[in-house]
Symmetry: C2
Subunit: 213 residues, 2 copies
Protein backbone atom coordinates (compact mmCIF):
# COMPACT_ATOMS: atom_id res chain seq x y z
CA UNK A 1 0.00 0.00 0.00
CA UNK A 2 1.38 3.38 -1.01
CA UNK A 3 0.87 6.04 1.63
CA UNK A 4 0.61 9.49 0.05
CA UNK A 5 1.18 12.62 2.09
CA UNK A 6 -0.77 15.74 1.27
CA UNK A 7 1.58 18.53 0.22
CA UNK A 8 0.72 21.37 2.59
CA UNK A 9 3.19 23.99 3.84
CA UNK A 10 3.66 23.97 7.63
CA UNK A 11 2.13 27.43 8.01
CA UNK A 12 -0.89 26.38 5.94
CA UNK A 13 -1.74 23.25 7.95
CA UNK A 14 -4.04 24.98 10.43
CA UNK A 15 -5.96 26.85 7.73
CA UNK A 16 -6.36 23.66 5.69
CA UNK A 17 -7.59 21.84 8.82
CA UNK A 18 -10.22 24.49 9.49
CA UNK A 19 -11.36 24.28 5.85
CA UNK A 20 -11.84 20.52 6.19
CA UNK A 21 -13.72 20.97 9.48
CA UNK A 22 -15.99 23.64 7.95
CA UNK A 23 -16.64 21.39 4.94
CA UNK A 24 -17.50 18.36 7.09
CA UNK A 25 -19.70 20.38 9.44
CA UNK A 26 -21.80 21.19 6.36
CA UNK A 27 -25.19 22.45 7.53
CA UNK A 28 -24.65 21.69 11.22
CA UNK A 29 -26.07 24.76 12.98
CA UNK A 30 -23.58 26.67 15.13
CA UNK A 31 -24.51 29.60 17.36
CA UNK A 32 -23.38 32.81 15.62
CA UNK A 33 -20.23 34.19 17.21
CA UNK A 34 -19.16 30.83 18.61
CA UNK A 35 -18.03 29.18 15.37
CA UNK A 36 -14.30 29.73 15.89
CA UNK A 37 -14.47 28.21 19.36
CA UNK A 38 -16.43 25.16 18.25
CA UNK A 39 -14.18 24.57 15.26
CA UNK A 40 -11.03 24.92 17.36
CA UNK A 41 -12.36 22.29 19.80
CA UNK A 42 -12.93 19.95 16.85
CA UNK A 43 -9.45 20.82 15.57
CA UNK A 44 -7.99 19.87 18.97
CA UNK A 45 -9.87 16.58 19.34
CA UNK A 46 -10.95 15.51 15.83
CA UNK A 47 -14.25 14.92 17.61
CA UNK A 48 -17.29 16.46 15.93
CA UNK A 49 -19.35 15.90 19.09
CA UNK A 50 -18.18 19.35 20.14
CA UNK A 51 -20.42 20.83 17.44
CA UNK A 52 -23.42 19.81 19.54
CA UNK A 53 -22.24 19.53 23.13
CA UNK A 54 -20.78 23.02 23.58
CA UNK A 55 -23.23 25.34 25.35
CA UNK A 56 -22.76 29.09 25.65
CA UNK A 57 -24.65 31.38 28.00
CA UNK A 58 -25.97 34.56 26.38
CA UNK A 59 -23.12 36.96 25.75
CA UNK A 60 -20.49 34.63 27.24
CA UNK A 61 -18.00 35.12 24.43
CA UNK A 62 -18.31 38.91 24.48
CA UNK A 63 -18.02 38.99 28.29
CA UNK A 64 -14.91 36.83 28.17
CA UNK A 65 -13.26 38.95 25.50
CA UNK A 66 -13.97 42.13 27.44
CA UNK A 67 -12.52 40.55 30.59
CA UNK A 68 -9.33 39.50 28.79
CA UNK A 69 -8.94 43.00 27.36
CA UNK A 70 -9.26 44.43 30.88
CA UNK A 71 -6.43 42.15 32.05
CA UNK A 72 -8.34 39.25 33.61
CA UNK A 73 -6.27 36.19 34.53
CA UNK A 74 -7.10 32.55 33.90
CA UNK A 75 -7.29 29.97 36.68
CA UNK A 76 -7.12 26.36 35.56
CA UNK A 77 -7.15 23.02 37.35
CA UNK A 78 -4.32 21.25 35.53
CA UNK A 79 -0.69 21.93 34.65
CA UNK A 80 -1.50 20.51 31.21
CA UNK A 81 -4.08 23.20 30.49
CA UNK A 82 -1.70 25.84 31.84
CA UNK A 83 0.99 24.53 29.49
CA UNK A 84 -1.42 24.65 26.56
CA UNK A 85 -2.78 28.17 27.01
CA UNK A 86 -1.03 30.79 24.88
CA UNK A 87 0.42 32.79 27.74
CA UNK A 88 2.19 35.27 25.47
CA UNK A 89 -1.13 36.24 23.89
CA UNK A 90 -2.74 36.65 27.33
CA UNK A 91 0.21 38.63 28.76
CA UNK A 92 -0.35 41.31 26.10
CA UNK A 93 -3.44 42.39 28.02
CA UNK A 94 -1.87 41.95 31.45
CA UNK A 95 -3.39 38.62 32.45
CA UNK A 96 -1.63 35.59 33.89
CA UNK A 97 -2.42 31.87 33.99
CA UNK A 98 -2.61 30.26 37.41
CA UNK A 99 -2.77 26.63 38.40
CA UNK A 100 -2.63 26.10 42.15
CA UNK A 101 -2.94 22.31 42.06
CA UNK A 102 0.72 21.56 42.84
CA UNK A 103 1.05 24.28 45.50
CA UNK A 104 2.09 22.94 48.89
CA UNK A 105 -0.58 24.80 50.82
CA UNK A 106 -3.27 23.38 48.53
CA UNK A 107 -2.13 19.79 49.07
CA UNK A 108 -2.15 20.35 52.84
CA UNK A 109 -5.59 21.93 52.95
CA UNK A 110 -7.05 19.18 50.79
CA UNK A 111 -5.53 16.49 52.99
CA UNK A 112 -6.74 18.10 56.23
CA UNK A 113 -10.26 18.77 54.98
CA UNK A 114 -10.70 15.46 53.14
CA UNK A 115 -11.68 17.36 50.01
CA UNK A 116 -9.84 17.64 46.71
CA UNK A 117 -6.98 19.90 45.70
CA UNK A 118 -9.30 21.32 43.05
CA UNK A 119 -11.75 22.42 45.77
CA UNK A 120 -8.95 24.05 47.75
CA UNK A 121 -7.70 25.75 44.57
CA UNK A 122 -11.07 27.38 43.98
CA UNK A 123 -11.09 28.65 47.60
CA UNK A 124 -7.64 30.12 47.02
CA UNK A 125 -8.86 31.90 43.89
CA UNK A 126 -11.84 33.27 45.83
CA UNK A 127 -9.46 34.83 48.33
CA UNK A 128 -7.63 36.79 45.62
CA UNK A 129 -8.61 40.22 44.35
CA UNK A 130 -8.10 39.67 40.61
CA UNK A 131 -10.67 39.26 37.84
CA UNK A 132 -10.75 35.61 36.83
CA UNK A 133 -11.77 33.37 34.00
CA UNK A 134 -11.90 29.75 35.18
CA UNK A 135 -10.87 27.05 32.74
CA UNK A 136 -11.73 23.70 34.32
CA UNK A 137 -10.74 20.71 32.22
CA UNK A 138 -10.38 17.97 34.75
CA UNK A 139 -12.01 18.21 38.18
CA UNK A 140 -15.78 18.29 38.58
CA UNK A 141 -15.14 19.14 42.24
CA UNK A 142 -13.72 22.47 41.03
CA UNK A 143 -17.02 23.27 39.33
CA UNK A 144 -19.04 22.13 42.34
CA UNK A 145 -16.98 24.39 44.62
CA UNK A 146 -17.30 27.31 42.18
CA UNK A 147 -21.07 26.82 42.24
CA UNK A 148 -21.09 26.97 46.04
CA UNK A 149 -18.83 30.04 46.12
CA UNK A 150 -21.07 31.79 43.59
CA UNK A 151 -24.18 30.97 45.65
CA UNK A 152 -22.45 32.36 48.76
CA UNK A 153 -21.48 35.54 46.87
CA UNK A 154 -17.81 34.84 47.51
CA UNK A 155 -16.67 34.73 43.91
CA UNK A 156 -17.68 36.50 40.72
CA UNK A 157 -16.04 34.79 37.73
CA UNK A 158 -16.02 36.68 34.46
CA UNK A 159 -16.43 33.35 32.67
CA UNK A 160 -16.43 29.68 33.58
CA UNK A 161 -15.13 27.29 30.96
CA UNK A 162 -16.65 24.10 32.33
CA UNK A 163 -15.18 21.19 30.45
CA UNK A 164 -14.06 18.52 32.91
CA UNK A 165 -13.98 15.06 31.39
CA UNK A 166 -15.08 11.83 32.96
CA UNK A 167 -17.57 9.58 34.59
CA UNK A 168 -18.19 10.63 38.20
CA UNK A 169 -20.17 13.85 38.80
CA UNK A 170 -18.88 15.40 35.58
CA UNK A 171 -22.30 15.74 33.94
CA UNK A 172 -23.88 17.08 37.14
CA UNK A 173 -21.12 19.58 37.89
CA UNK A 174 -21.59 21.13 34.45
CA UNK A 175 -25.35 21.35 34.96
CA UNK A 176 -24.78 23.18 38.26
CA UNK A 177 -22.72 25.84 36.48
CA UNK A 178 -25.43 26.23 33.84
CA UNK A 179 -27.87 27.11 36.64
CA UNK A 180 -25.82 30.12 37.77
CA UNK A 181 -26.00 33.58 36.22
CA UNK A 182 -22.25 33.56 35.57
CA UNK A 183 -21.21 33.58 31.89
CA UNK A 184 -20.23 30.05 30.88
CA UNK A 185 -18.97 27.88 28.08
CA UNK A 186 -19.76 24.27 28.97
CA UNK A 187 -19.28 20.98 27.12
CA UNK A 188 -22.47 19.17 28.11
CA UNK A 189 -22.04 15.51 28.95
CA UNK A 190 -18.93 13.56 29.82
CA UNK A 191 -16.50 14.97 27.29
CA UNK A 192 -13.92 17.71 27.71
CA UNK A 193 -10.40 17.74 29.08
CA UNK A 194 -7.36 19.90 29.70
CA UNK A 195 -6.77 20.14 25.97
CA UNK A 196 -10.32 21.43 25.41
CA UNK A 197 -10.02 23.90 28.31
CA UNK A 198 -6.78 25.31 26.88
CA UNK A 199 -8.19 25.31 23.36
CA UNK A 200 -11.23 27.40 24.34
CA UNK A 201 -8.97 29.93 26.09
CA UNK A 202 -6.80 30.15 22.98
CA UNK A 203 -9.81 30.46 20.68
CA UNK A 204 -10.98 33.47 22.73
CA UNK A 205 -7.48 35.00 22.60
CA UNK A 206 -7.24 34.50 18.83
CA UNK A 207 -10.67 36.07 18.34
CA UNK A 208 -9.24 39.24 19.89
CA UNK A 209 -5.96 39.19 18.04
CA UNK A 210 -5.67 37.22 14.87
CA UNK A 211 -2.02 38.18 14.36
CA UNK A 212 -0.40 35.09 15.82
CA UNK A 213 3.26 34.19 15.86
CA UNK B 1 -34.61 20.14 38.21
CA UNK B 2 -32.68 18.76 41.16
CA UNK B 3 -29.06 17.93 40.37
CA UNK B 4 -27.79 15.08 42.53
CA UNK B 5 -24.11 14.49 43.03
CA UNK B 6 -22.82 10.96 43.44
CA UNK B 7 -21.17 10.54 46.84
CA UNK B 8 -17.69 9.25 46.01
CA UNK B 9 -14.57 9.94 48.07
CA UNK B 10 -11.86 11.84 46.15
CA UNK B 11 -9.45 8.92 46.28
CA UNK B 12 -12.16 6.57 44.97
CA UNK B 13 -13.10 8.65 41.90
CA UNK B 14 -10.58 7.05 39.56
CA UNK B 15 -11.49 3.50 40.60
CA UNK B 16 -15.19 4.23 40.20
CA UNK B 17 -14.53 5.75 36.76
CA UNK B 18 -12.67 2.64 35.62
CA UNK B 19 -15.56 0.48 36.89
CA UNK B 20 -18.01 2.48 34.80
CA UNK B 21 -15.76 2.25 31.74
CA UNK B 22 -15.37 -1.53 32.17
CA UNK B 23 -19.14 -1.89 32.58
CA UNK B 24 -19.90 0.17 29.46
CA UNK B 25 -17.27 -1.60 27.38
CA UNK B 26 -19.20 -4.79 28.05
CA UNK B 27 -18.14 -7.43 25.54
CA UNK B 28 -15.99 -5.09 23.42
CA UNK B 29 -12.89 -7.15 22.66
CA UNK B 30 -9.60 -5.66 23.92
CA UNK B 31 -6.18 -7.08 23.16
CA UNK B 32 -4.97 -8.91 26.31
CA UNK B 33 -2.35 -6.87 28.14
CA UNK B 34 -3.52 -3.56 26.67
CA UNK B 35 -6.72 -3.15 28.68
CA UNK B 36 -5.30 -0.66 31.18
CA UNK B 37 -3.98 1.54 28.38
CA UNK B 38 -7.22 1.51 26.42
CA UNK B 39 -9.31 2.19 29.52
CA UNK B 40 -7.05 5.06 30.59
CA UNK B 41 -7.43 6.66 27.15
CA UNK B 42 -11.21 6.42 27.53
CA UNK B 43 -10.89 7.83 31.07
CA UNK B 44 -8.92 10.80 29.68
CA UNK B 45 -11.30 11.58 26.81
CA UNK B 46 -14.67 9.99 27.68
CA UNK B 47 -14.43 8.77 24.10
CA UNK B 48 -15.07 5.07 23.61
CA UNK B 49 -13.62 5.25 20.08
CA UNK B 50 -10.28 4.47 21.69
CA UNK B 51 -11.53 0.94 22.35
CA UNK B 52 -11.32 0.29 18.61
CA UNK B 53 -8.80 2.77 17.19
CA UNK B 54 -5.79 1.91 19.37
CA UNK B 55 -3.38 -0.45 17.59
CA UNK B 56 -0.47 -2.17 19.29
CA UNK B 57 2.42 -3.85 17.54
CA UNK B 58 3.29 -7.32 18.88
CA UNK B 59 5.02 -7.00 22.23
CA UNK B 60 4.90 -3.19 22.21
CA UNK B 61 3.72 -2.90 25.81
CA UNK B 62 6.35 -5.32 27.11
CA UNK B 63 9.10 -3.58 25.11
CA UNK B 64 8.06 -0.19 26.46
CA UNK B 65 7.97 -1.39 30.04
CA UNK B 66 11.44 -2.95 29.71
CA UNK B 67 12.76 0.29 28.22
CA UNK B 68 11.33 2.38 31.06
CA UNK B 69 12.85 0.02 33.61
CA UNK B 70 16.24 0.41 31.91
CA UNK B 71 15.97 4.20 32.25
CA UNK B 72 14.68 5.22 28.80
CA UNK B 73 13.56 8.82 28.42
CA UNK B 74 10.43 10.11 26.73
CA UNK B 75 10.53 12.64 23.88
CA UNK B 76 7.28 14.41 23.17
CA UNK B 77 6.18 17.08 20.72
CA UNK B 78 4.18 19.36 23.03
CA UNK B 79 4.68 21.11 26.33
CA UNK B 80 1.16 19.96 27.23
CA UNK B 81 2.07 16.29 26.97
CA UNK B 82 5.27 16.97 28.91
CA UNK B 83 3.20 18.64 31.63
CA UNK B 84 0.82 15.69 31.74
CA UNK B 85 3.35 12.86 31.98
CA UNK B 86 4.01 11.67 35.53
CA UNK B 87 7.65 12.70 35.66
CA UNK B 88 8.10 11.55 39.25
CA UNK B 89 7.08 8.02 38.28
CA UNK B 90 9.49 8.06 35.32
CA UNK B 91 12.39 9.55 37.33
CA UNK B 92 12.31 6.50 39.61
CA UNK B 93 13.84 4.50 36.79
CA UNK B 94 16.21 7.25 35.67
CA UNK B 95 14.31 8.55 32.64
CA UNK B 96 13.50 12.15 31.76
CA UNK B 97 10.84 13.82 29.64
CA UNK B 98 12.06 16.04 26.82
CA UNK B 99 10.18 18.46 24.61
CA UNK B 100 12.47 20.41 22.28
CA UNK B 101 9.70 22.37 20.57
CA UNK B 102 10.37 25.71 22.32
CA UNK B 103 14.18 25.44 22.10
CA UNK B 104 15.76 28.34 20.25
CA UNK B 105 17.95 26.17 18.03
CA UNK B 106 14.89 24.19 16.94
CA UNK B 107 12.97 27.30 15.92
CA UNK B 108 15.98 28.51 13.90
CA UNK B 109 16.55 25.21 12.12
CA UNK B 110 12.85 24.92 11.24
CA UNK B 111 12.79 28.47 9.88
CA UNK B 112 15.93 28.00 7.80
CA UNK B 113 14.93 24.64 6.37
CA UNK B 114 11.26 25.51 5.81
CA UNK B 115 10.22 22.43 7.74
CA UNK B 116 8.46 22.21 11.11
CA UNK B 117 9.83 22.46 14.62
CA UNK B 118 8.58 18.92 15.15
CA UNK B 119 10.79 17.68 12.31
CA UNK B 120 13.80 19.50 13.76
CA UNK B 121 13.00 18.07 17.20
CA UNK B 122 13.15 14.51 15.88
CA UNK B 123 16.53 15.24 14.26
CA UNK B 124 17.76 16.56 17.59
CA UNK B 125 16.61 13.37 19.33
CA UNK B 126 18.38 11.28 16.68
CA UNK B 127 21.66 13.06 17.51
CA UNK B 128 21.45 12.07 21.19
CA UNK B 129 22.77 8.87 22.68
CA UNK B 130 19.89 8.00 25.01
CA UNK B 131 17.23 5.31 24.68
CA UNK B 132 13.96 6.98 23.73
CA UNK B 133 10.25 6.40 23.76
CA UNK B 134 8.52 8.92 21.48
CA UNK B 135 5.11 10.24 22.51
CA UNK B 136 3.74 12.24 19.59
CA UNK B 137 0.35 13.82 20.30
CA UNK B 138 0.28 16.73 17.93
CA UNK B 139 2.55 16.85 14.88
CA UNK B 140 2.21 14.34 12.05
CA UNK B 141 5.47 15.80 10.68
CA UNK B 142 7.20 14.34 13.76
CA UNK B 143 5.99 10.86 12.81
CA UNK B 144 6.93 11.35 9.15
CA UNK B 145 10.46 12.40 10.17
CA UNK B 146 10.73 9.47 12.60
CA UNK B 147 9.75 7.15 9.74
CA UNK B 148 12.51 8.61 7.55
CA UNK B 149 15.11 8.42 10.32
CA UNK B 150 14.18 4.79 10.99
CA UNK B 151 14.49 3.95 7.28
CA UNK B 152 17.91 5.61 7.23
CA UNK B 153 19.00 3.66 10.30
CA UNK B 154 19.61 6.87 12.21
CA UNK B 155 17.24 6.27 15.07
CA UNK B 156 16.07 3.21 16.98
CA UNK B 157 13.09 4.13 19.17
CA UNK B 158 12.13 1.69 21.91
CA UNK B 159 8.49 2.62 21.31
CA UNK B 160 6.58 5.16 19.24
CA UNK B 161 3.31 6.38 20.71
CA UNK B 162 1.77 7.76 17.53
CA UNK B 163 -1.32 9.72 18.46
CA UNK B 164 -1.26 13.08 16.69
CA UNK B 165 -4.71 14.54 16.21
CA UNK B 166 -6.07 16.32 13.19
CA UNK B 167 -6.96 16.57 9.58
CA UNK B 168 -3.81 17.00 7.46
CA UNK B 169 -1.50 13.98 7.04
CA UNK B 170 -2.44 12.64 10.48
CA UNK B 171 -3.94 9.38 9.21
CA UNK B 172 -1.07 8.82 6.78
CA UNK B 173 1.69 9.58 9.29
CA UNK B 174 0.30 6.92 11.63
CA UNK B 175 0.15 4.38 8.80
CA UNK B 176 3.81 5.06 8.02
CA UNK B 177 4.79 4.21 11.60
CA UNK B 178 2.75 1.01 11.43
CA UNK B 179 4.88 -0.06 8.45
CA UNK B 180 8.13 0.06 10.43
CA UNK B 181 9.42 -2.72 12.65
CA UNK B 182 9.63 -0.37 15.63
CA UNK B 183 7.27 -1.17 18.54
CA UNK B 184 4.29 1.18 18.36
CA UNK B 185 1.04 2.19 20.00
CA UNK B 186 -0.99 4.13 17.43
CA UNK B 187 -4.49 5.61 17.49
CA UNK B 188 -5.61 4.86 13.95
CA UNK B 189 -7.51 7.65 12.24
CA UNK B 190 -7.72 11.33 13.09
CA UNK B 191 -8.06 11.14 16.84
CA UNK B 192 -5.42 11.51 19.51
CA UNK B 193 -3.83 14.52 21.18
CA UNK B 194 -1.35 15.62 23.80
CA UNK B 195 -3.67 14.35 26.51
CA UNK B 196 -3.78 10.89 24.90
CA UNK B 197 0.00 10.85 24.43
CA UNK B 198 0.56 11.69 28.10
CA UNK B 199 -2.13 9.27 29.19
CA UNK B 200 -0.52 6.31 27.36
CA UNK B 201 2.85 7.15 28.95
CA UNK B 202 1.22 7.24 32.38
CA UNK B 203 -0.69 4.02 31.76
CA UNK B 204 2.63 2.28 31.00
CA UNK B 205 4.22 3.77 34.13
CA UNK B 206 1.28 2.68 36.32
CA UNK B 207 1.45 -0.83 34.88
CA UNK B 208 4.99 -1.07 36.27
CA UNK B 209 4.25 0.51 39.60
CA UNK B 210 0.72 0.59 40.86
CA UNK B 211 1.66 2.39 44.08
CA UNK B 212 0.77 5.92 43.05
CA UNK B 213 0.76 9.03 45.19
Amino acid sequence: MKIELENVLPKEIENRSFEIITEELGDTPLLPGTELIVKRCIHTSADFDYARNLCFSDGAVEAAIEAVKRGASIVTDTQMAKAGINKKALHKYGGNVYCFMSDEDIAEIAKKSGSTRATASMDKAASMEEEFIFAIGNAPTALVRLYELIQEGKIHPKLIIGVPVGFVNVVQSKELIMETDVPYIVAKGRKGGSNIAACICNALLYMIDNSRE
